[in-house]
Each structure stands twice: as C-alpha cells, then as structure tokens.
Amino acid sequence: MEALIPIIIILAKVIGITFVLTLPIIAYSVYAERRFAAIIQDRVGPNRTGIPLTIFGLKKDISFFGLLQPLADGLKFILKEDFVPSHVNKFFFWLAPALTMVPALVTLSVVPFGSSFFGEKLVIADVSVGPLMIFAVASLSVYGITIAGWASNNKYSFFGGVRSCAQMISYEIALGLSVIPVLMHFGDLNLSNIVAEQAKNGWLLLPLWGDEGLTTERLLLWFPMIISFFIFTISIFAETNRMPFDLPECETELVGGYHTEYSSMKFALFFLGEYAAMIVGSALIVTLFLGGWSIGFGADAWVIETCGNWAGLIHLGVFLVKLVAFILFFILIRWTVPRFRYDQLMKLGWVVFFELALINILITAVIMTWTEGNLSNFELGATIAGVSIFSIVMFYIAKSLEKMLASDAKKEA
C-alpha cells in the first residue's frame, strides 16, 4: 500500500495539471481567440452558444456570452465525417495529428504550476534538467507537421510541411541560444529552483526587491536579459507556427498548408496542438522571465507564512493569471501584425537573432565575471577593444567580399 501512495500522487498531478487544468485552457483559448479577434475587428464574435432551453419548451435560451462555444465546437468536430483521401500514406496520416498534440502536453510535465501544496510541489516531474527537457520534447513536435505534409501526398501540404520543418529548425537555434544567458545568471537547470529564486530576489525582468535590491550587477545584467526575453518570445512565436510566422499554413499561397487534406477530429488535433504549444511557450516565458508562480514585490514569503499549506493554490492562481495574460498577448499579436515573407523569416532567424543571441551570451559572461571581481578593469577594456576590432575587421571583410561578388556578377551579365 505504501508503495502505491507516490504513484497515486503522481497520477493525481498528471490528471489534475494536464487534463483538468490545461485542456480546458486550450479549449477556451480558442474561444478567447475568436472573441478577441472580433473585438479587434469591431465584430461581435460567437456570443450565442449556451443552454438551449427553447428545446424544452421554455421561452428563452441562456447564452452566458457564448461560453459553451468550445463544447459545441468539440461536438461538431467529433460528429463530422472523418474523411481519409485514397492517395495518402494511411499509417503516417493517422499518426501525424497525435505527434503534434502529444509533445506539447508532455512538455507540461516539468513546468512548475505553483509552490508546494501540503508538502507536494505543484510540478509533475521536478527534474534537474527542466529547460533542456522542454527543448528536447518540443523539438519532437516538428515531426507532427512535417509527417502530416508528407503523408498527405499533396503538393501544398508538402510545401507546408517542409516550410514548417525548416522554420522550426532555424528558430530552435535562436531559442536555445537566447536562454543560455538566463541559465548562466541562475546557475541552475531546475525550473522549480529558478522560480523560487525569482520569488526571493525579484523576477528576471523586474529585479527590484530581495535582500540586495537593485545592485550594479543586476542593473547591468538587466539589459542582456531584456534582449534574451525579446529573442525568446519571438522565437516561441515562430516555434508554435503562430502569426506573424504561420507560413506552414499560409492560406494565400498553400490552400491550408499541412492540414489541407485533414478533416474532423484529426484537423482539430492540429488546431489544438497549436494552442497547446502556445500555452507551453507562454508557461516557459512566464517561468523563466516573469517569476512563474511568484506574486512578486516580496509578498511570497508573507503569503506562505499566513496561508501555510494553502499558499500553493494562491500561487497556482497567480501563475494562471500570468499565463492567460500571455495567451491574450499572443492573440493580440496574431490579429495586429501581418504575415512575414518566407525569406524575411529565414533572414530574421539566421542573420539577426542567431548573431544577437551569441553576442548576448558574450556580454552576459563579461558582465558576470567583471562584477564578481574576476576581471580587472584593464582586462575588461582589453576584451571590449579586442572584440570590437575583431568584429570591425570581419564586417569589413564580409562587405568587401560582397562587393567583389557583385562586380563579378555584373561582368558576367
């Protein structure tokens, strides 16, 4: 019996966090997307679906502002005809939707949803390699869309799949590199510890409270962290195939992209997989940069003192508020920024973000060693001078090479 208790606790966490908490958030973020889009475009949006009392002979339906819309959507998707075209590769055609949804939900296992609740941390797996685990599992979600495009045996689907594959590989690099300064600052790979540290000493983007307050080191580190946040957030947009980077399903060029051939619940799984990835991305941004479940401004210690074992629930609520705010930010961006062109997207990833993230790592390392006193002022000056001379020389060489190639091309023409 005693051996069963840890298993029951883990099962309760898995069911509670994944199925009770996250799946409804996914369903309602679809509703939020539609309503929010309607507000932005000065429409009404889905506001009717409710309890149909008129069926039972009463005079009026109860609509709740259309809050039952996700239920109706789900029912519609299940009841629609599940059509499989004859020219597809059946096995992979069926496998692909699951491959987009499952990795997104698996990544939730290492995200800390709150502090401890009756001695149990509100995280499914408190592993020592949290962010790496998320990147590892998230990198598997490439296969869903790519395989869907290939198995559909359709040119438009295939283009969508290939685009998504190239896009996700490119932005994974920027994503991974942009998070290194953050991990260098915390010196830890456990997400629970990272959040606990932020609750004590101030969020990464708001280092204002804690024992030391705003020291010189933290003030100097603030700038690289803001750059990291900037690159990380935009890369998450590209990783989740959200607007302005939703080229794999670009309607104007590719009909429906990778899901052109999909119908009913299989299509819905792609749809929900996108939202699940968006929620995981928001959770990761909130956890790393915005203090995760911490209330902030030094209020966490007070809450844990006064509420005792129930503090975990308050922290869970705070985390969900931040998460929902970020989801709304994602939606706001989708309905305000136009789509990128494909070569612009690739250029942004490889030419701008990749280099910026690398430089950011260097800046963070220099600031950290200098403020810890391991680097004299002379060495600091020498480092800065050396790096700038090197960059100027490399820039000059690159430019002159470019000019040479251009004149060669002109001569041939």
Binding site: S128, V129, A136, S139, W150, F158, V162
Partner: protein, 239 residues
C-alpha cells in the same frame, strides 16, 4: 515498477531497431530510428543520467533525424520501395551482427559487476571522494551531501545526483582544451559547409536579382523565350 519501465522502453528500442532494418519505406525506417532513440533516452534517464538522456533526444531525435527526414522526403520513394534485396545484402545482415556480438562478448564479460545502489548513502560516500579543488559551497558538494553548506551536516535523505554539474565540472577543468579544439573544429566545418553550398556568381535566391538578370539576358540575346526562372517567363509573355 522501474523494471516494468525498463522492459517497456527496451522493447520500444528493439522494435524501433527492427523497423529501421525491415521497413522498405525510408521514412518508416527513419521514424523507427527516432522511436529507438527515444527508448534509449528513457533507459538512460532510468539510470539517473538525466542530462545524457535529454541530450540524446535533443540532439539525435530532435535535430539530426529531422534533417534525415527532411532529405528523405525530397527523394523519389517509389523507386526505393520497389527495390528487391539479393543474397549479398541478406548475407551481410547476418554476418555483421555476428561479428558485432563476438566483439561484445569479451567487453561484457570484462565488466565489473560489483554495482552499488545509487541511494543517499552512496552519494554521501561519493562526496568524500571528490576532487579537493571543488569548493565546499559548490552545487556539486551541496547536492551530493544533501546539506545547504557543503561538507557539514550530511543528510542521506536529501542527497541528489548533480549529473549536469558533474559533467560540466569535468568538461571545463580536465577536458577544457579538447573542448575548445572541438569548438574550433565545428566552426571550421560550418564555414566550409557554407562556402561549398554558396553559389559564387549571383545569388539565385534573391527574387530582385533574378528579375534583373533575366531582363539583362533578354535584352542582350535575341532568344525569344528565356527559361531561367518563372519570373523571366512571365515578364517575357507580357512583352
């Protein structure tokens, strides 16, 4: 419980491996390989090697196999699927594994089977054997002893294996120089790849460049239809 998981993932790994060999469709083979890698990663995590297991997924299943699939999907698979395998490939598929097993027998028989269970006491004992250069307030000592101040107050219940920190410590002290060399080597390889794949005369991916080149070509020669790019064709039709 751990044994059940071990057999589950071992079966996943072996099934993936068999898929790689048996399947005629290259995409199926590649997907089998990914399954095998994930099984291997799970086995490594079962051995408390979280970092290595995660990297197995991140690097092999998540990055290298994506490139494999990317390339395979662009090939003509119908040709591949219709291929018949003759006696030589069957013979090779029997002989090579037998040689591999023959190599593995002496290796496995030389393994020291004197395992100790990786519990708190073993970790505390390992903390005493650590390199003296590692300071008392480092993550490694804190995690291995399970106390907040390193060497004092040893607590077997709180001890954890700091595998990431241990790998980092080894890599950046003992193997620092080889690490730097590997970094330079990778950089050289990357630059080489970019140089080889870059077209030297005119950038074909730039649409403006294409149009300009097509126009200059159309002007300079009297050929009525220049079939360099789609852009060139359409501009000719208009003319």
């Amino acid at each position: 419980m751990p044994t059940i998981l071990f057999y589950l993932f071992a079966i996943l790994m072996i099934a993936g491996g068999i898929c790689v060999v048996v399947m005629k469709n290259p995409v199926s083979s590649a997907m089998g390989m990914i399954g095998s890698f994930i099984g291997l990663a799970a086995l490594l995590i079962g051995l408390n090697a979280y970092f290595v297991g995660t990297l197995q997924v991140l690097v092999y299943a998540g990055a290298i196999m994506v490139l494999f699939i990317f390339i395979i999907m662009l090939l003509d698979l119908k040709k591949e699927e219709g291929k018949e395998y003759g006696g030589s490939s069957v013979a090779a598929s029997i002989i090579i594994p037998i040689i591999f097993i023959l190599i593995m027998i002496p290796v496995l028989s030389a393994v020291n089977k004197d395992f100790t269970k990786l519990d708190g006491h073993a970790l505390n004992a390992a903390a005493e054997k650590l390199d003296k250069n590692i300071p008392a307030d480092s993550h490694i000592r804190k995690a291995l002893t399970g106390s907040s101040d390193g060497s004092k107050n040893v607590d077997p219940n709180k001890a954890t294996l700091p595998d990431v920190n241990l790998i980092g410590q080894k890599l950046f002290t003992e193997y620092n120089f080889p690490l730097q060399i590997v970094g330079v080597l990778l950089l050289v390889a990357t630059i080489g790849c970019v140089t080889l794949s870059k077209k030297l005369h005119g950038d074909a991916t730039d649409p403006d460049e294409d149009q300009r080149m097509a126009k200059t070509l159309a002007k300079s020669t009297d050929i009525p239809k220049v079939t360099i790019t789609a852009n060139a064709e359409s501009s000719d039709k208009k003319a």
